[in-house]
Amino acid sequence: MAVVFDRTKGLTSKIFHYCPGCTHGVIHRLVAEVLEELDVLGKAVGVAPVGCSVFAYDYFNCDMHEAAHGRAPAVATGIKRVHPDSVVFTYQGDGDLASIGTAEIIHAAHRGEKITTIFVNNAIYGMTGGQMAPTTLIGQKATTAPYGRDAEHCGMPLKVSEMLSTIDGAKFVERVSVHNASNIRKTKKAIKKAFEIQLKGEGFGIVEILSTCPTNWGMTPLEGLKWLEENMLPYYPLGNFRTPGEVE
């Protein structure tokens, strides 16, 4: 019988621990497929975050390094500086990257560190049980924002891609989403582009991926996808913010 679909070589056979309907799994697969298609699994080193995707080191079928919360870009910097020919990526949530790790991500971008960052924005702290993230939307309830996020009290949700696109060293910045099939395809394209830019040695690349957390949003997986489309897309517009060529 002909095989029409197989697990990408970029993933191990370990079963994901993610909640049903969580889009972390989809994003893992896209990254893994890109690594396989670019034929770089043998020189890839991934840096896992602290967050729901902390066990990413068990899933990606390449060398992996588990970082402290928010420090993945610094760890990736150390790896890349030692092995400039390796393909180094970080995989980070929005608490990890946009809160505790803001200094690390901004300065990795600022130095034009030749790494690729996969930034999973689900507007909440998943792993610790649904606390407010810097990316939590206005009015959105979280366990530490039980009355809904109030801009007067804790500011407006942080737009990471817009912020990073003001930095010269960030050569590729794109925001995508995985709430439906056509957007999943676009997400994969963006991830591929970001890795290609690393391979060409052009500088820092980040793909911000809007993602769901049905568990902590208190929704079914389908409601989660719809909520993302209706609430996150208007505040976090999809699109490319920077591509080499436009930068210079």
Binding site: T12, L41, G42, K43, A44, V45, V47, V54, Y57, D58, F60, N61, C62, D63, M64, H65, E66, A67, A68, R71, A74, V75, A76, T77, G78, I79, K80, R81, V82, H83, S86, V87, A103, E104, I106, H107, R111
Partner: protein, 354 residues
Amino acid sequence: MAKILMKGNEAIGAAAIKAGCNYFFGYPITPQNELPEYMSRELPKVNGCFLQAESEVAAINMVYGAAGAGARVMTSSSSPGMALKQEGISYIAGAELPCVIVNIVRGGPGLGGIQPAQSDYYQATRGGGNGDYRHVVYAPSTLQETVDLVMEAFDVADQYRMPVMIVGDGMTGQMMEPVEFKELKKRELPVKDWITDGTKGEREPNIINSLFIDPQELEDHVNDRLEAKYRIIEEKEVLYEEYNVEDADVVCIAYGTTSRIVKNAIAECEAEGLKVGLIRPITLWPFPHKVFDKITDKTKGLLTVEMSTGQMIDDVKIAIAGRKPVYFHGRTGGMIPNPNDIVNEIKKIAGGEK
């Protein structure tokens, strides 16, 4: 090789490069700035990489990445910056990676001051980071000993796969002394087959990690891997200098810069006919407990001298286990102990006035 006159911070850098350290990640802070400055000048010449990080937190995490990737790597800082590095040091210890960390200690707490101090003893030996971990801590007292130990530190780090810390103070960093870079006696170093340099399709992926979510797995990791090697280190890697310990009326205990001042005080006491011994820990961890067994009934008391309000004294008390009274003399905040004050303390103990 001929001796050359060098400033402490630069001598540390030169020793590191001689030991094969090609990567340095740091952040400016007085009184250690000459070390990163030296590395920024010299590392490019050996195809290495110096990078000024955005913070000490980032610097130690770059070290974490580079160590995982197999490099001989170093970072340095001074007290407030070293406080920020503790998170990374705990991860590096947990993930069992080698690296060398230099703390040129200044007075604290808080922003404190910029003058020499020894008030980071607890931080260095008790682990300022979280969890059950240890790392070797060297406290050299001369620049020659500093360069010897910096070179040795890289081998020790590789042999045991752990961070090794060099503790100096503003004096060590800023003073100039002649140094000679000697060949190290070779240690058997394990092959680094665990590094993240890409599988090249030839092996299973390597994973650098300090997370063990299953409690039994974590206990096994801590006991069977970490504790087991800490016991070996306590057995094999203790370094200290002892002087006249068995025949002393008073035994002084001091490390680093302070030990040099104490030696002057001892010479003065001897000129007056007093018998004074010295124990100078060179490794603060593992602490030289066993040498304290040599202290005889003849000794009236111990005097611990530190540039702090008394931190190493805890280890001295553990080592002497209540057999003898332990007295303390210290200056802090960047103030240097005066040999005359130490002489007076020694005399009081010897004369039974204390």
